[in-house]
Symmetry: none
Subunit: 215 residues, 4 copies
DNA sequence: CATGAATGAGTGTTCATTCAT
DNA sequence: AATGAATGAACACTCATTCAT
């Protein structure tokens, strides 16, 4: 293609993404204030000045890292729900699996920790993240739970609480991985952790197997 | 008393705690690098130089904030378990209640968020926190769960996973409260949140009431 | 040339020397602790930050000033001795003349005063200066005196004492020039001072003109 | 006496001298700017605040150290010359011996180095030192040399140069002792150094013993 | 008199940002 | 487009000086 024929051109177009990837890693590791733009540039293989060709300021870079990272991926989650025809438990499994593939197993998994750390310094960005990521992520899970309850697969649990209970360990996993886990190691294998948590939680949500006997 | 007769002296003894309290708030709000020592001093009602009478450096202040904050309180948790003679569910309620009184409802609740944010910059401190706080906190909960399982009150769940599932929402609560919660507000009342989460989780752990005999 | 075509580049290469020259003057005038790096930078025509592009710290700048200043010049002194074919008195005159041209009449003449003032604060540097400058300077003079004694031009004086007696007034000259001389003025013209001192001292060292009559 | 009967009183009167002695040592070792008043106070066995009961400021302390140290001693030198009835060589020996006892072998020997180091920062003090110590010290030596020349003991050397040549090694001795000598050790025993220097110099000044035969 | 807690101006150092090349 | 030398505002930290006790 055009791109392959002009490697320098391709490079130029890849630059912002390379810089954002480098910045994400360092922001997650050291925090916003603790990250030096020179280190970001070096890790991305360019000079300090080049960074300013693509981002107006350190803050603009930070916002881009947050905004461009996760939002596009969330769109796909909605598609999964709409397309699903199997059981709701399977749907939930698919959602979590997809999240794992696209975020959890990626450096993007550091974004929650980063946003938690810097919310105080970037309130507007925090609000954006809340509306664009958290609210919509919860929406996905709410629709899923309501689908399960409506179909009788799940008990009539309090949905909002259930969302918390489902998300909390997943979030703790990625937060841990990018904070104390880097010093103290991971206690569990992430896949096992997610699996056993999912089983346990689902056990509390699923409707009893023998509808005729249940309460 | 002696103390009241020497206000200067009394002040001198209170200064470190006052400074640590001010520092905790700012470290939680802005992160370590983003916090100016002058602001810490001002919030504690002293000048910048005074801070250095009590702490050798910004880093020493940070470490003191982490170390002196939570460890002493954990000691008391162990006492609760040893002294408890009621049901294990009540013990668990007591532990969480005590935590809420001494930490959760205090500025100390910001420490987990702080430690998460700064683990990358202070690895040794992170290890200390892990060993002195996290491991010991999990110990308390492990003993509680084992007590419940041994007495037949709880099902024979996987204990480590159960610890995660119990702690995760509690941690998420305080993390949220000191990060996005400061911009976006708290979705739930904390007490309700803790209560409903506890009920839900306990429901997944409690042994089924021996049908026919139950209650 | 290449250099003229890239003034920025040429500047970059000249910067360390410019900064060291500015620093030497101020260190000599005000001492190490009394010198502000901002003043050094201003005198060198750059901003404070630029200084740190070339020197890691105030201390590193100080060490560079001492180390790069005099050592290279001493090398040339040894060459003079080896190459000399005239009388030893002429050689001694040549050595002192060379010293005057390259050091004594330069701002480098302030280095001895500087090293004297700061030896207590930089012991390792003082030892380096001792070994690299003082010992080697004395070596040059020792070889010269021994040459004169061997050839019968000089009396068989105690060489070490003679070195002291020859160096002391020269050192006092440069020390004075960069200390009290800046307030109280120079009592003598330096050239006259060196000349008359040299004559007097040489008079005490030269062998009597008529060997047959001596003693 | 009164003093012995009231040790606290005696202490109070001794305080300024104790503080000046402590300050002299530290000023000589670290320079004016490099000396912390807290260290001076600690070395004198008092608290930082006490120092201000006796000296208005760091600068006032410094000036007192310089002014009170050497001037009184110089007065006595003049008395020696007036009272002397022996040979001028003996007088010169006596002057140097007295200097050694009262200054050279004392911490006061650090004053020349100190004044050299700080002349640039305290020009008025340097002028005072010049007038009160240097000029008067040279006067003493000038009178001595003139006495020797007048009596025919010394040759008719250029007196000002001779003063330099006599003083320079003595000054170098004390300068060295309080600067590089503290790191690199003393090359010679001070007494031997002074003796051999004196012999050598005197040899160049003394009139030839047998006038009829000389030259 | 003596203390030492408190202050705040001053300085070394860092780093986001600019701009000539 | 890319560089990296230069800048200067900002901040950690020090220490001379003050003053309540």
């Amino acid at each position: 293609m055009e791109a392959l024929a002009h490697p320098r051109q391709r490079r130029k177009e890849a630059r912002p993404a390379e810089l954002m990837a480098a910045a994400l890693e360092l922001f997650v590791e050291k925090g916003f204030a603790g990250t030096r733009l020179e280190d970001v540039a070096t890790r991305a293989g360019v000079s300090k000045g080049t960074l300013y060709l693509y981002f107006d300021s350190k803050e603009a870079l930070f916002k881009a890292v947050i905004q461009e990272g996760i939002v596009p991926i969330l769109e796909e989650g909605a598609g999964l729900i709409d397309a699903c025809e199997g059981s709701t438990a399977d749907l939930m499994r698919a959602l979590i699996g997809e999240w794992w593939q696209r975020i959890g197993n990626t450096h993007l998994a550091g974004v929650p920790k980063l946003m938690i750390s810097e919310a105080g310094n970037f309130p507007e960005l925090a609000i954006y993240y809340h509306d664009a990521v958290i609210v919509r992520g919860r929406d996905l899970m709410r629709r899923t739970l309501q689908r399960g309850i409506a179909s009788g697969e799940f008990r009539a649990v309090d949905v909002e609480t259930a969302i918390d209970v489902i998300f909390a360990p997943v979030l703790m996993l990625v937060i841990w991985r990018y904070s104390l886990g880097m010093c103290c190691g991971m206690a569990h294998d992430p896949r096992d952790y997610l699996q056993s948590h999912f089983d346990l939680t689902l056990g509390g949500i699923l409707a009893p197997p023998h509808p005729g006997v249940a309460r």
